[in-house]
């Protein structure tokens, strides 16, 4: 169902408010980051790992995936880019270790996703993994990637979402970070539109200044207001803020429940448009309300609001 994003037991649609980057070169970081309760972790083989440590990081990654119980926290691996010699081994190590998904960096075209998809299929066969169990997310980091976002979003059955990566994008656009976010407006708008059109999730870029928690909060509020599903983050200290902002409030949940109830009741009685709490409601509000309820359920706060 294009245009909405259900939060269900489908692994592609699971709750991903926070995706925490962890340097795969540092086992001490990876060993227990689940204690902070992010929805997903992104074990990074790419930029965080220096060029001459790629093998060591891949080895740590594999052992981490094999030996540590992350519970309900999703484990995504950011592999090295298609322009490097590292990505085929990265894919093999990730699939062999049993990663839940692979994040493709610097994705520019649908065929980039197809290449990784083929490598994942081979690796799943090689390591006797269940075919299709390794999901894909694509990071869009360039103007071309932004312009091809819809193709990328529709490129693979395995693809659960796309993430915007601001560092490279800002450089390519000859701009830099501004608190207003104006420099990212074109990317955020386009990629988000493409993701919603294709029915996949969309995640905003990282916020790297850990001393500016107010700036971070403001950006996360903007992300939620725009309609993002979540955000890539760089430090566990950012988790609580994102979860607070992305989790529906009791008031929002109660409103959504009233809307859904009223829509059903009025539909039975043959009424199309009516008032709930003084606001005009029609069928267009259903998917939004259902999404709020699904998000509340996935965030574990539905019971509290009832």
């Amino acid at each position: 169902m294009a245009g909405t994003c259900e939060v269900t037991s489908d692994p592609k649609k699971r709750l991903r408010r926070t995706m925490l980057f962890l340097n795969a070169q540092r086992p001490s970081l990876m060993k227990d980051a689940y204690i902070y309760g992010p929805d997903s972790v992104i074990l990074d083989l790419e930029d965080a790992v220096s060029e001459n440590q790629k093998d060591a990081a891949r080895f740590s990654l594999y052992n981490n995936l094999r030996s540590i119980d992350y519970g309900t926290v999703e484990r995504i691996v950011r592999i090295n880019g298609l322009d490097t010699p590292h990505w085929p081994e990265d894919v093999r190590a990730s699939v062999a270790g049993g990663a839940d998904g692979i994040r493709i960096p610097k994705c520019e075209r649908a065929c980039d996703v197809k290449r990784i998809e083929a490598a994942i299929e081979d690796a799943e066969r090689e390591f006797s993994r269940e075919p299709g169990c390794t999901l894909i997310m694509a990071a869009i980091e360039s103007p071309r990637g932004v312009l091809n976002a819809l193709d990328i979003c529709e490129s693979s059955e395995r693809l659960f979402g796309v993430a915007i990566s601001g560092g490279d994008f800002r450089a390519a656009m000859r701009t830099k970070y501004y608190p207003s976010g104006v420099e990212m407006a074109s990317a955020r708008g386009n990629v988000l539109l493409a993701a919603r059109a294709a029915g996949v999730q969309c995640f905003d870029t990282v916020f790297t200044n850990l001393d500016d928690m107010d700036g971070f909060r403001a950006e996360v509020i903007m992300n939620r207001e725009m309609g993002f599903d979540g955000k890539s983050i760089v430090n566990p200290r950012q988790i609580a803020i994102v979860h607070e902002i992305f989790t529906p409030t009791d008031k929002e949940i109660r409103e959504a429940l009233r809307v859904v109830r009223a829509l059903r009741q009025n539909a039975d009685e043959g009424v199309g448009v009516f008032l709930v709490d003084g606001k005009m409601i029609d069928a267009a509000f259903l998917s939004g309300a259902e999404h709020t309820i699904a998000l509340a359920r996935a965030s574990g706060v539905l019971g509290e609001a009832l």
């Binding site: 060993k31 227990d32 204690i35 902070y36 850990l210 430090n235 566990p236 200290r237």
Partner: protein, 530 residues
């Protein structure tokens, strides 16, 4: 004989009425007579108390082989006084001395050589670490060290178990009559709480200062009526190490998470209401609790009636913001607390007896609602070790830990589940410094456990939506990460006795076993470069 925390205490230690630990309140109602010091009257108005050197003071006090001298640790790792005095004792050829310090730190490493040479044969202290810890744990001290909490030390003095022949009291300021304060001068430490009992009960009292001020130095922490001599030296300590510039608030996400959970635990208990009382340590996560506490207090519109113990800037800040009514201060860790005590309205100095002596009639710790403390190890019975490392070597200090834990209604330990390869939560701590009956809640990075003796607290936390695990679950988790540790191996000789607050024996520390690392069967390492 087994004591109440399951430790076997050898009978030979139980002579002369010494008993094994039998629970926190065992000594309630005990009758005792306080000892009095032997005093030399200072009648002549024209006589001066000022002496030209420490050496003169030692000689005039009649210090002899086998006597006991005392010190405080308000100068922390910046202290010069202990080393200056013991050097003079050594050069006078006096030996077999017992050092009774409120604590000893890395600054006192030179004492290790005095232990080897027999100048120092007894140590009674709270903190014991660095080279002194190594020397004692390796059996170099002729006698047995006695380890006590801060409250336990004052108790031992006030019950006559620790008789001090000469107290040497380093003081940031003093007048010529020995009225001494922790404030002013160039080695400002704020308060002199640890020395109050020494001045009242020692036969001879020597004040050592680097800043002589005009008489009268009011209000004095150390009363001139108790002081025999005043010695003026160039420097009593290194001000930079006495008071830290600013203890940096931890940015470590693990510590912050534990601190936040600790504040949530506090807020979920029935004691968290307007007028509550609170003590916390100066360590990373404990210090950070203040930050989270402030926002919860503001949100709920409640204030703290009083804070206790070692003080740092976060507490001073809360006092200045009007979120704390008053502070009862026994030690100052940073410049902010040193400056605040006696200056900020509501920031008072109290003595260590007032603070924590379990057998007086009004220790402040008994009135605490909350205390947040650290632990090197905590076992499945909630017994805490803060004095011996995982290698069995003395490297810590009970300090006020057992006192505040024993007194407070809600004692919370904050500690990471593992440190490197060492499990913090374990089957059996190396040394019990604080009995499990004093501990109510354990907050780790892997979960929160409540002592089964406090089902009321467990109910309160669960009602507030705080998930709980058992301490055995935590131990199993720790062992699953780092493996099950082998027991530390010791020799038979007892090198230190860990006294409970009331003077009964809580545990003993034995000499560490010397072992040669046998690498013959350690396997062949084969590195192949591919």
């Amino acid at each position: 004989m087994k004591n109440a925390v399951g430790r076997d205490i050898p009978d030979f230690l139980l002579q002369g009425g010494r008993e094994v630990f039998q629970g926190n309140n065992y000594k309630d109602g005990a009758i005792y007579t306080k000892p009095g010091p032997t005093v030399r009257a200072a009648v002549k108005p024209e006589e001066s108390k000022i002496l030209p050197s420490i050496r003169d003071a030692i000689e005039l006090c009649g210090l002899k082989d086998g006597m006991t001298v005392s010190f405080h640790h308000h100068f922390r790792d910046g202290d010069y006084v202990v080393n200056m005095v013991v050097r003079e004792i050594e050069s006078l050829g006096i030996k077999d001395i017992t050092i009774a310090a409120s604590s000893l730190g890395d600054a006192h490493d030179p004492l290790a050589a005095m232990i080897e040479s027999g100048v120092v044969t007894g140590i009674q202290t709270s903190g014991i670490r660095g080279k002194i810890g190594d020397a004692v744990s390796n059996g170099k001290l002729k006698g047995r060290a006695i380890l006590r909490s801060h409250g336990g030390r004052v108790r031992a003095i006030e019950q006559g178990e620790l008789h001090i022949d000469v107290a040497f009291i380093g003081a940031p300021t003093s007048d010529e009559y020995g009225n001494a304060r922790g404030k002013g001068g160039k080695s400002d430490c704020g308060v002199l709480s640890y020395s109050v009992a020494d001045a009242k009960y020692a036969d001879h009292v020597v004040v050592i200062t680097d800043t002589l001020v005009p008489f009268p130095n009011l209000p004095p922490s150390i009363d001139g009526v108790d002081v025999d001599y005043v010695v003026v030296v160039d420097e009593i300590g290194d001000p930079k190490k006495i008071a830290s510039q600013a203890l940096r608030m931890t940015q470590d996400p693990r510590n912050l998470m534990m601190a936040e959970n600790c504040a949530r635990v506090m807020a979920a208990t029935p004691y968290f209401k307007d007028g509550f009382s609170f003590q916390t340590g100066a360590g990373g996560p404990s210090l950070a609790v203040n930050r989270f506490l402030e926002s919860i207090m503001t949100e709920r519109g409640i204030k703290m009636r009083w804070a206790l113990g070692g003080i740092t800037k976060p507490t001073v800040d809360l006092l200045n913001k009007g979120l704390i009514n008053c502070v009862a201060d026994t030690q100052d860790f940073d410049v902010a607390s040193v400056q605040s005590v006696h200056s900020t309205p509501g920031h008072y100095e109290i003595s260590t007896s007032q603070y924590a002596n379990p057998v007086n009639k009004g220790a402040f710790v008994n009135k605490l609602d909350f205390v947040i403390l650290a632990a090197l190890e905590i076992d499945v019975d909630f017994n805490v070790n803060v004095v011996t490392g995982s290698d069995g070597v003395l490297r810590g200090a009970p300090g006020g830990h057992p006192d505040a834990a024993g007194g407070a209604k809600c004692t919370i330990i904050v500690a990471p589940l593992v440190r490197g390869r060492i499990p913090t939560v374990c089957d059996r701590v190396v040394t019990v410094t604080t009995p499990g009956e004093s501990i109510d809640v354990l907050v780790t990075d892997y979960g929160i456990a409540v002592n089964p003796s406090r089902p009321d607290l467990a109910d309160a936390l669960v009602s507030a939506g705080i998930p709980l695990v058992t301490i055995r679950d935590l131990k199993m988790k720790a062992y699953s990460i780092v493996g099950t540790p082998d027991d530390v191996e010791f020799d038979d000789r007892i090198v230190a006795v860990m006294e409970a607050r009331d003077g009964t024996i809580l545990d003993v520390v034995r000499q560490v076993k010397k072992f040669d690392l046998d690498i013959s069967d350690a396997g062949v390492f084969d590195f192949k470069i591919v």
